[in-house]
Symmetry: C2
Subunit: 326 residues, 2 copies
């Protein structure tokens, strides 16, 4: 009910009367009053005016189930939201929930990760209050060979959501890092659990630097937060989450129709930070330089060298802008 009250307060043009809330949820005045009080205790500023009703003045930067759901407009993504103040890793938790039978679309969110996972066994720094650490679990009925494209679908969704909420231009460093002003603000770690021909589940872990004030010297040239790039402005994390989920659902449903990115190539390419720029492809066999042209419908990066056009597969190689990210 709290989530629905929040949703109503948000969508209301002015006040909502207590009586209206009672009718809507078929509960007593006391029950409504209790729920409103719980919301106040959680940090929501709710004004109560006699004869007018309730009005939401300000919402705290929470990522609770009620807060996220009250902002969400999806059909099936994140219908189940689990929030944790502290967790080992949202990816690990999401995989556990998948095994326990939680439905496709379950979202795990944490304010802090104690052993956040990065790529190839590396860790992801995840302190409290600064970021969004979330994992979306899905159980797609697709060929496992097509699953790696989902990480590009997720990148597209996050970039669009960040731009929509912050107004800052978020671009994609192929395949799935999000950069603002040339600095990385988000990493995505997609992990698959499969029987080779059959996907048990996929977890898409998304870590976004939102309110970090600074970064360690070693990475400060490469990493940043939305707040730093927006000149100190703070953002509502639940709103970024809700927007990401909306975009993901939309792009994912498009992806499913063809099980490839053919209908998303154009939108992805428009956000590709390296597009039409020189890149160095750190192919373990032989590094080479070229110009990034865009992606194929399978999600490969098209790189034109002086002698030929090459397709770079996700993960096999690392791509660098010749001067840092751009």
């Amino acid at each position: 009910m709290k989530e629905e009250i929040l949703r109503l307060l948000r969508s209301a043009d002015g006040y909502i009367s207590g009586q209206e809330l009672c009718n809507r949820f078929r509960v007593s005045r006391t029950a409504v009053w209790k729920a409103i009080n719980q919301l106040k205790e959680a940090g929501y500023e709710i004004e109560a005016q006699q004869n007018k009703g309730y009005r939401l003045m300000a919402a705290p930067d929470l990522m609770t189930e009620a807060e996220i759901k009250s902002l969400m407009h999806t059909d099936w993504v994140a219908k189940e939201v689990l929030y944790f103040d502290t967790i080992d890793s949202t990816n690990i938790k999401a995989q556990e929930l998948a095994e326990k039978g939680y439905p496709s679309g379950t979202l795990v969110v944490a304010d802090k990760q104690e052993s956040g996972k990065g790529r190839r066994g590396r860790s992801w720094v995840s302190p409290s209050g600064t970021g969004i650490f979330m994992t979306l679990m899905i159980k797609p009925d697709i060929n496992p060979n097509n699953a790696s494209m989902l990480t590009l679908v997720a990148a597209l969704a996050v970039a669009k959501a960040i731009t929509s909420v912050t107004g800052e231009e978020a671009l994609i460093k192929w395949p799935n890092d999000i950069v603002v002003n040339g600095k990385k603000v988000c990493g995505i770690l997609t992990e698959m659990n499969a029987q080779f021909d059959y996907i048990n589940h996929i977890v898409v872990g998304i870590g976004i630097n939102v309110h970090n004030e600074s970064f360690p010297e070693e990475i400060s040239q490469m990493a940043s937060s939305l707040m730093i790039e927006a000149g100190g402005k703070r953002f509502h994390r639940a709103q970024i989450i809700a927007e990401t989920m909306s975009y993901f659902e939309q792009y994912y449903d498009t992806f499913l129709k063809t099980q490839d990115l053919s209908a998303l190539v154009r939108e992805y390419d428009e956000l590709l930070v390296n597009r039409n720029k020189s890149v160095r492809v750190l192919d373990p066999k032989e590094p080479f330089d070229g110009k990034a042209m865009g992606i194929t419908p399978k999600g490969e990066l098209i790189v034109d060298t002086w002698e030929s056009r090459k397709l770079v597969s996700s993960g096999e190689v690392s791509v660098r802008g010749i001067y840092g990210y751009v």
Copy 2:
């Protein structure tokens, strides 16, 4: 120490003196006597003769860590063995252990599974006392695209181990079912947890019907146990496990050298139950009949139809002998 005492008793040609055991483990007579008593309590028949020492007369059909390890001769496979009387699923437990940092080669064994996993979300009947339910967890540094071949490596190991312990000819129904006298006695469920370009871990779940006395009507034409096929003879399950692990280590190390099955094709083909026989390939697009010729170094099944040679990829299709399994 119990595992080492068992190993010594097994390898001894006659008796081993208490003094020798004391010296070997640098412990007191009392400590040796205690360990021997614990083994007796666990069901081992150990004869103690004054002036001669101890002799192992009979071992119970246990799959405990000590019993399995005392029979094992591997370098790295199953150096860590976890035994459970009852478990939900050995595959799930092995995946949990992988996340917790257990080393590659960890083996989980259970006498009974409460929700044993079969392929594509199906279940695997796993009652107590009748079977071997085990999962080997590995963390291979190979390309995820090559990982599906491991299930053929496992099939080869199980077939060899069953033949070696029971004397019955165990063959392989491509890709990874084991059949004796044309009936399935073992299923293998391999699951991978990966970051697309990087394997977190792979679990190879192996279920062997050992002492089942009968099967439900619906599957009795297709399924059997080692005991039924060996005319009522009982087997020592830990020995089958130990043999399987030895063969797996050997074949896996061969596989790793080329990351394909090129050096194992011949041995695999010799055990292929459908080889040179007519098969029906239940391709979801269009089923077709042909003759199974063997496997490719990538693990595909080579099927010659009247018009062309086709390569069948694991999992995409189901292959049936025109008359049941053979």
